[in-house]
């Protein structure tokens, strides 16, 4: 469907800058997820695309057409709100037909279009109900249905699942993914939940303080983060970030050798993104929980830690190990292992694992 482009778009509420000037292109049929902590400006970004918030500067293009100063209804977008925002005094049918009616679609045609959308979302049996007679999940489906009937160029989702309970959230997540595949439309989805971002997105935008930290496919962001913020934000439990110091490079020159005092590690080889760069001094060493492997033979362990808390998820076990007061190092182990509290556990670091970040947080 449509290519959506943001060119140097910024937003300020009075003296408060919410979005720094940023460029962003959303490709046709893409599922772009904007993710970031609360207050990072992700909802504002979405509302600017919707036209509910005016951009302070910059240009917004949808399908090559400048919509920056256009009314929301003239932009060819539909939005699903976190709170559903259904019209409580109207039936499900009327809720879905309202936009069509405003667009001047005649009644018989409205009926057909609403029927079609209702069939897609399995809402046929609920068409004559009022929103208050529906469950949370059904309401969310109606809100999505209301967006679908208008056949928009771009779908906007503003944290649509955060009002649902965990089970329903997982179910609706699948439905939205299915919908995206069936309709093949462009979707821009805002969430603070990185699991939603990872599972739904074709590309993720990580936003912090109104700035784009990194854009890329989920796997790319996970395996190749640009900085400590993205590294810490993507992935659950989060990546372990520990103070370290570069003591040199390995013979190939592709890996830095790092000392990590809190793990009593010395000379760990960690791949460098930029092997040519001259790196030295204090750094941050990042290691994902699954890259800390239980050493079968304690003699071959790289280091040992004291197990503090065990989170048994059934499929795997998360071990929280205290190295110092402020740092808990998390390791993900296979489910069979179940060390007790206070036990010394030997670990190895997976080959080619780990990241090095400079003192400014940027990946080295």
């Amino acid at each position: 469907m449509a290519v959506t482009q943001l060119q140097q778009v910024s937003k300020a509420f009075g003296p408060v800058k919410v979005i720094e000037p940023l460029d962003l292109t959303v490709e046709r049929s893409e599922f772009l997820v904007v993710v970031g902590p609360s207050g990072c400006g992700k909802s504002t970004l979405l509302r600017m695309i919707a036209g509910l918030e005016e951009a302070t500067s910059g240009t917004i293009l949808i399908d090559g057409e400048d919509v920056t100063r256009k009314e929301p209804s003239e932009r060819g977008v539909a939005m699903v709100f976190q709170t559903y925002a259904l019209y409580p005094h109207m039936t499900v049918r009327d809720n879905m037909a309202f936009g069509l009616e405003m667009a001047g679609v005649k009644k018989p045609e409205r009926e057909v279009l609403v029927g079609k959308a209702a069939a897609t979302l399995q809402l046929e049996a609920l068409l004559d109900r009022k929103p208050k007679q529906l469950s949370g999940g059904q309401r969310q489906r109606v809100a999505i249905g209301r967006a679908i009937v208008r056949d928009p160029k771009v779908f906007l989702f503003d944290e649509p699942l955060s009002n649902l309970d965990a089970e329903l959230r997982a179910q609706m997540r699948l439905e939205i993914a299915k919908l995206h595949r069936e309709l093949g439309v462009t979707m821009i989805y805002v969430t603070h939940d990185q699991v939603e971002a990872m599972t739904l997105a074709t590309r993720i935008v990580v936003l912090r303080d109104g700035r784009i930290e990194q854009i890329g496919p989920p796997s790319e962001l996970y395996a190749n983060p640009d900085n400590t913020f993205v590294a810490g934000f993507i992935g659950s439990p989060r990546m372990n970030l520990l103070e370290g110091r570069i003591i040199g490079k390995d013979p190939t020159g592709r890996k830095a050798l790092i000392d990590v005092p809190s793990l009593q590690l010395s000379g760990v080889p960690v791949p460098l993104r930029n092997p040519g760069a001259d790196v030295q001094g204090a750094v941050t060493f990042g290691i994902r929980p699954e890259d800390l492997i239980l050493a079968d033979d304690p003699a071959k362990a790289d280091f040992t830690m004291t197990c503090e808390i065990v989170e048994d998820l059934g499929s795997s076990v998360f071990l929280y190990n205290t190295t110092s007061r402020e740092n808990a190092v998390v390791a993900e182990l296979p489910r069979a292992t179940n060390p007790g509290h206070g036990e010394r556990v030997p670990y190895r670091i997976a080959p080619d694992a780990g990241f090095v970040f400079g003192t400014d947080g940027k990946r080295l």
Binding site: G51, E71, P72, S73, M79, F81, A85, Y87
Partner: protein
């Protein structure tokens, strides 16, 4: 959680006192209207009527212009309520939705209408109306009633608009609703309880308005109930039966209004909209 018995008793007693405080005068008026004249002025008042008569009503309707006053009052009050709504709804929506320079100042200034006792503005208003040829017209009363009901109506409705989740309005905007359409199709239905409350407020203030009605209206055929009725009672002696019958009838339209509009006073009208 179960309430201790003594709390239940205390609560029930409290409710009873309140109900009596509000209900007894009404009972006194309505039951008295059906009592024989001797019983009304009996030295020992009777709580339950010992006699039953319709003579007061008969006298009221046949020997006085009460019906004319009633019609005038209904005319003035209904029109006042309608005009108040027609003006207050868009005004309060504008105060709520639009941002313009001096909005909050203007919003407070409109309450100045209540700063002066009506008696203070009576004379200048009379002079103005005299020049406009509005003295001795029921329209004059409508204008005055609307002017006094409007500021409060605007304040009340704005807070009702503010209670509607912003997303509902935004969804309507995304659906392509023009501001007036959003107001008519979405906002008004959702603020129905507030609108009903404002309508009743405007109606009742008009219904009971005395000062302006007594001065602006000169001819008997245009008088409203409060003024006309006070003439019926008599200057030198009080016909209690007539007074009670007239008062009973005067309550009736207000009671009917509450019965008709009361069904709009349902809470949770926006239930199911968000969350």
């Amino acid at each position: 959680m179960r309430r201790p018995l003594r709390w239940s008793i205390a609560l029930a007693a409290g409710l009873l006192v309140l109900a009596a405080l509000i209900g007894l005068p009404f009972w006194w008026v309505v039951s008295g209207a059906f009592k024989a004249p001797q019983e009304i002025i009996a030295r020992v008042p009777t709580f339950f009527p010992q006699s039953f008569t319709l003579e007061h009503f008969e006298k009221l309707l046949s020997a006085s212009d009460y019906l004319t006053y009633l019609v005038n009052s209904v005319f003035v009050s209904v029109l006042s309520a309608l005009v108040t709504l027609v003006l207050a709804i868009p005004a309060s929506y504008a105060f709520f939705r639009l941002t313009f320079r001096g909005r909050e100042t203007l919003y407070r200034i409109i309450l100045l209408a209540y700063a002066f006792p009506s008696i203070v503005v009576l004379i200048p208003l009379f002079a103005t109306f005299a020049r406009l040829g509005l003295v001795d017209t029921r329209l004059a009363l409508v204008l005055v009633n609307v002017a006094f009901a409007l500021p409060f109506a605007i304040w009340m409705l704005r807070s009702f608009f503010a209670s509607i989740p912003r997303e509902i309005e935004e969804a309507a905007r995304l659906d392509g609703g023009a501001p007036l359409t959003v107001l008519l199709r979405i906002m008004i239905p959702l603020t129905a309880p507030g609108i009903a409350a404002v309508a009743i407020f405007a109606f009742v203030t008009s219904w009971t308005e005395y000062v302006f009605a007594s001065v602006m209206i000169l001819s008997d055929a245009k008088r409203t109930i409060p003024v006309g009725f006070s003439g019926i009672i008599g200057q030198y002696q009080v016909d209690w039966g007539l007074l009670l019958a007239g008062a009973s009838l005067a309550i009736l339209p207000v009671v009917l209004l509450f019965a008709l509009i009361g069904r709009w006073f349902v809470t949770g009208l926006t239930e199911g909209a968000v969350k």
